[in-house]
């Protein structure tokens, strides 16, 4: 290996230096793979969502409720992203009678399109109507990392506080649906819904939102209805 500092410029012969234009988005390769994933989903007639939220916001709990609401009529599959090789969440999904595969990100703070591709490989997609991806619990990193799903969903939970859109703005931009989960806790927490929604409106005007409780099931039917409409659109396409 050549690593002597003097080497570079002690020759007399011409060095051919040039400045080459690149102009390539840093996420370009990921986005290409994401498009590939989406084509695969489209070819199978599957509607897919990417659920993002901080740890403990209630991603798995909401998914279980959606399974309750929809799995008698539609075939659902789940990809669980976790930073460690623990299958707690995936086990809960499987126990609810829905196929799930777990992607261990090896400490990585978000799923990416490449991991998603492996998740798709691991699942039997035949007949599946709805694919739910539970991203790694994180309010920063999954933003802007496309997986190839058709809709991005954020779950904000009441105990996290009403200032999250102001502190973590990126996650709320470019999403299609937001759930405000744990509304059963509103009486116990100082959460100013107007302040929260004002921040949200600046980042993502007119965003579809559902206040829900995965504990009492309040509001879950609204989100399930939204999903059902998307599933039927996909079937009709």
């Amino acid at each position: 290996m050549c690593n002597s500092a003097s080497h570079t410029h002690d020759h007399d012969h011409d060095h051919d230096h040039s400045h080459v234009s690149v102009v390539e988005n840093i996420m370009n390769q990921n986005d290409l793979l994401a498009r590939h994933n989406q084509k695969l989903l489209d070819a199978s007639g599957i509607f897919a969502i990417n659920i993002m939220a901080s740890p403990g916001a209630g991603k798995t709990s909401v998914i279980l409720k959606i399974i309750e609401e929809l799995s008698d009529r539609y075939k659902i599959a789940v990809i669980e992203g976790d930073t460690a090789p623990v299958t707690i969440d995936a086990d809960k999904i499987v126990a609810a009678g829905v196929p799930a595969t777990q992607i261990n990100t090896g400490g990585n703070c978000h799923l990416d399109a490449h991991m998603m591709m492996h998740g798709l490989d691991a699942l039997d997609l035949k007949g599946v109507d709805l694919l739910i991806v539970e991203n790694v619990g994180n309010l920063v990193c999954p933003a802007g990392v496309a997986l190839g799903t058709h809709a991005n969903v954020v779950i904000a939970s009441i105990p996290e506080g009403d200032d999250k859109p102001y502190k973590y703005p990126n996650i709320y931009r470019g999403i299609d649906v937001i759930l405000m989960n744990k509304i059963d806790l509103l009486p116990y927490v100082d959460f100013d819904m107007d302040y929260f929604v004002t921040g949200l409106e600046m980042l993502n005007p007119g965003l579809t939102s559902f206040p829900v409780s995965a504990k009492t099931s309040e509001g879950i039917d609204g989100f399930a209805g939204w999903l059902e409409a998307r599933i039927l659109e996909k079937r009709a396409a």
Partner: protein, 120 residues
């Protein structure tokens, strides 16, 4: 944030373009990054020095061009700096569109084509 993953993407892009150009060495990498991305330059630099060992990009310099976040009000067309999430300072409308600050790309690289400089 996920600087390691981002830095790996940058390296892949540089390697691919350098190979296309038959480069033997990449000496400089120019990045354009908007302030709305939560990337820390120092961490990218740290990972860069580490992951470029034994590659065509070893010892190359990273240059960051940072772009400030700016918004344009959809009501009064006022352009304002978006240091934090806030309504239009002129008319207080909460409807605006972000016009700069989302940049996130490798703009260019400087390369050597002299075959003797490269690291094996």
């Amino acid at each position: 944030m996920h600087e390691l993953a981002v830095t790996q993407n940058i390296l892949n892009i540089c390697q691919r373009h350098a190979t296309q150009e038959n480069a033997s060495q990449v000496t400089d990498v120019y990045l354009v990054i908007g302030d709305l991305s939560s990337i820390i330059d120092d961490s990218v630099q740290f990972y860069w020095d580490f992951i470029t060992k034994d590659t065509i990009c070893e010892h190359s310099l990273l240059h960051f061009e940072r772009i400030a976040a700016k918004a344009k009000c959809l009501s009064c067309e006022n352009e304002f700096a978006l240091k934090q999430l806030m309504p239009c300072p002129q008319c207080h409308s909460a409807r605006f569109k972000i016009i700069t600050g989302e940049e996130f790309y490798v703009d260019s690289i400087k390369i050597n084509k002299n075959g003797e400089n490269h690291v094996q």
